[in-house]
Symmetry: C2
Subunit: 142 residues, 2 copies
């Protein structure tokens, strides 16, 4: 049986969530499409194999998955939320002339920043997580 699906089932069970076809489909969609899709994009993709899924259900599931830390919300300046199934520490490249958002993984940078803030703390603030928003232009097509 599908290896990814088994991995996803495991994750749901670990978080005490029931395994349902809808949840599997959404998590699978998010793990397959690493382009930080919107709820609408996820719905469109899922409906191909799962024509009956309700819009509200998708939003509810996304909300639960964020709460349980199986996915993350990705912030934008638009009134549309985007989602990310990659939970390993990473930053984002934001295109300044399109909606494209790509992952940026750089553990050397993470270490540099961690060292910097350990030395030079922020008064009255305890850092839990540092995320960079790198705005700019992609030089390749997509």
């Amino acid at each position: 049986m599908n290896l990814l699906l088994n991995e996803i089932k495991q994750k749901l069970l670990e978080k005490g969530l029931k395994v349902t076809p809808q949840r599997l489909a959404i998590l699978q969609a998010l793990m397959t499409h690493k382009n930080h899709p919107t709820a609408e994009m996820i719905i469109e993709y899922i409906r191909y194999n799962h024509p009956n899924i309700a819009t509200g259900t998708v939003y509810k599931i996304l909300e639960v998955l964020v709460e349980k830390e199986l996915i993350r919300k990705v912030q934008t300046e638009k009134d549309i939320m985007r989602y990310d199934a990659i939970m390993d520490k990473h930053h984002h490249l934001y295109c300044s002339e399109s909606e494209r958002i790509e992952d940026y993984v750089d553990s050397e940078l993470d270490e540099l920043l961690e060292a910097y803030f350990i030395k030079k703390g922020i008064p009255d603030f305890k850092i839990e997580d540092i995320r960079l928003h790198l705005n700019g232009k992609f030089l390749n097509l997509e």
Copy 2:
């Protein structure tokens, strides 16, 4: 006459925008309240001295001011936009247990990051701007 208001008038004129009481009020509100307010918060504040301003007008003005780069949008995970009149380079401290967002200015860090990315570029991406989202807890009241 009010010094801040004159400064604001100047900024509007430089951008080719007509100077109106509504625009002055909104920019003044944003420059006075550095807490990254929502449109609703701005409206509430402005209505005290300016009871007739229309909700849609505030949204339209905020949009124009963002376009003309007199203010910025501040991204959050909520379906409510927040605004910032401080255009000098700075990062944001996000409280993980409330909606509080504070500025973080650190030119030493900016230089460090600039040097880092000049040395180690990102393939196929031209960086225009780097913003850190520092998530954590504030240790003081507010």
